[in-house]
Amino acid sequence: MPDWLIIRTFWDLTVTGLALGSIYALVALGYTLVYGVLRLINFAHSEIFMVGTFGSLLASSQFLNIPLLEDGNYPYRAGMTLIFFLVVILIIAMVFSGISAVLLERVAYRPLRGNGDSIGAVALAFLTAFIVSLIFIDDTQVNVIISLVLTAPIAYSYLRIFKRGRKAPRLAFLISAIGASTAIAEAVGVWGTHGRDQYQTARILEKKTVFNLFGTDVRIDYVIVIVGALLMMTALTLFVNKTRLGRGVRAVAQDAETSRILGVNVDMIIIVTFALGGVMAGGAAMLFTLVYDQTRFNIGFILGVKSFTAAVLGGIGNLKGALLGGLVLGLVENYGSAIFGGQWKDVIAFTVLLVVLMFRPTGLLGESLGKARV
């Protein structure tokens, strides 16, 4: 056997690749779900993930009051305390991401679907007033107060515009998504306590080796990430395939109008979809902070692009495809870096995508949604 780095370190790379791949996969689920239902690349999903990491941050630093360092070392916890803390952080991250995903839908997409409601109108009105007030005054508190005052009348007129109920073309959704993504990330970058700097999240799990795989030490955090991701993925797949609501999700994905006629509450299904995607992203965010214990206002951007790539690689709209795509991408990146050097990592990832799509134009597992005939 030749003495190449990739061969010497194969299992090492495999474990770390799978861990990162699991996170890609969880985030990819959100893209795939929303894409399946709305045919929309939810560009802002990366920001939902980012919000989740901040949810973890707040959970550990504010709700659980865990300091970053205790006596110069990390505040490790063990046993039931550890499990309790991890669960709390997980739930809070999921809640943060879930809620922001649902809000995002209300504000940036639902009005474009032609049935915007008061939540969307109020949020958009507030934002309008806010950016207009920025022109005149540069004091965030004053801006907020002015905007709050102006929100009601503006929201009222927005609601009336919404009533016209015209569905926007697909590209408009994409641009709205891009706008929302930019705005969310920038809001954190501008008004976050550390601005654009990195934030550290508390590190309560000691990263010990739990077992040895072909000579490679496997750390506990990697095990948690991989197992956690698989569990969440399984739960989601069961939900979508076995429950009535899940059936509704699939139906809306294929034909929203008919679903409505058959008694499916389409708006609710869309909310459920975003919430599910958000919750998965929140889970991913918590696992992410578990391994890397840091975050930043733009942490979602690259990860989002990668996860979307993973979703497409596996076959967008296909839940199993998201899993496969994520894992494949994580591995390919790691192996590729070992062979060609880290600077070629993304080139390798995209090249693999290109090659796969050339031979399988709808991804590794194909779209799960059948196509209509000519």
């Binding site: 894409y35 920025l134 540069d138 515009i161 015209r166 709205s176 920038e186 290109l354």
Partner: protein
């Protein structure tokens, strides 16, 4: 109709009625209108000297005439090219910055890094090479539909940037400096400081591109593009060689993107891979859709706005990008077809008569 009266309708309708007025003009009026607009555009660097208007248009902190060239002209050129790909042929391209980079890099390589050609000579070469890249990207991927194409093009843009960043031959992350400038003619000196000659050159390029694209759009080729966008299967069954025309769309788009790159490189004299980030592709797309995807003049307007407004809003400093994001959402919510949407047939006459069958979706 009767039930829907609201305060915003007039604002929205104002755009429509401007367009309507234009459509009602006769040939002679249209040509004079064009002439006036073009002259005014060539005089744009001096707009800041006009009382009242000057302070309104001037960009705080930055040189207005530099912004006109470096930001506005570049974005307009790029938006024109991308509009062919996205707006007309309906191919979602998220890696358009790649072609822009190719144009700039070819110029840089030929005039500085590995050659000594004059800028003018590098121009056609760079445009042709960009087109070649269009073919290289397009040929294997145009089979893909919709959003698969989007992610592949996105990857392509990144591959171009990262390759430039990782190859010493391409200057790696240092970039390439001392790129040659356009030749001085008509007493216009293409120096380092005065941006006006570049702006005149850029505007001329824009006008040429508009002229050429207009001719293509209203021809068999343009019709094929729109047919593909509307229903690719049906188009093919009506005898449209879809692959060929999609490839043409890519190639022409690439040519215009490359041209923008050449102009950019000639002006700044120094490029590096960080000038061509993924985010730029997204901004380009935003420009096209914001202005009115499928309508060349809409794309131009979108390009101008996306390039100019952030400069005008420099006062917002750190909050600029945030404001930009919110504005994008608001624009899409209230003007989803863009500011100047494409008009199909004689819709405007309809609006005047406000008769039946107007906003009929299929």
């Amino acid at each position: 109709m009767s039930t829907i009266g609201n305060a915003f309708a007039p604002v929205r309708d104002a755009f429509d009625s401007i367009g309507d007025a234009f459509h009602r003009m006769n040939q002679w009026q249209k040509y004079s209108f064009y002439a006036i607009v073009i002259i005014a555009l060539y005089l744009a660097p001096f707009w800041t000297d006009i009382p009242v208007i000057g302070p309104i248009v001037d960009t705080p902190g930055t040189q207005f005439s530099t912004v006109l060239n470096d930001q506005v002209i570049i974005f307009v050129l790029v938006a024109l090219g991308l509009n062919v790909v996205v707006g007309l042929a309906g191919l979602l391209d998220l890696g358009y910055v790649g072609f822009y980079a190719v144009g700039a890099y070819v110029t840089a390589i030929l005039t500085s890094a590995h050659g000594n050609l004059p800028w003018l000579l590098s121009l056609p070469i760079a445009v042709v090479v960009s087109m070649l890249f269009g073919v290289i990207l397009g040929a294997p991927t145009l089979r893909l539909r919709g959003d698969y194409l989007a992610i592949v093009t996105l990857g392509f843009g990144e591959i171009i940037r990262l390759t430039a960043k990782n190859m010493d031959w391409l200057g790696a992350s240092r970039g390439i400096s001392n790129i040659k400038k356009p030749p001085s003619i008509f007493g216009l000196k293409f120096g380092v400081i005065d941006p006006k000659p570049y702006y005149y050159l850029g505007l001329t390029l824009v006008l040429i591109v508009v002229f050429v694209l207009h001719r293509i759009e209203y021809s068999r080729v343009g019709r094929a593009w729109v047919a593909i966008r509307e229903d690719e299967d049906a188009a093919e069954l009506m005898g449209v060689h879809t692959f060929k025309f999609k490839l043409w769309a890519f190639t022409i788009g690439a040519a215009v993107g490359g041209l923008a790159g050449v102009h950019y490189a000639g002006k700044v004299g120094f490029i590096n891979p960080d000038n061509f980030p993924l985010q730029l592709s997204i901004l380009f797309l935003a420009a096209v859709v914001l202005g009115g995807s499928g309508n060349m003049y809409g794309a131009i307007l979108g390009g101008v706005l996306v390039a100019y407004v952030p400069e005008r809003l420099r006062n917002f400093a750190d909050k600029r990008v945030f404001v930009f994001g919110v504005v994008l959402v608001l624009m899409m919510v209230f003007r989803p077809e863009g500011i100047l949407p494409k008009r199909v047939g004689d819709e405007h006459k309809k609006r005047q008569r406000s008769s039946q069958n107007e906003e009929v979706a299929q």
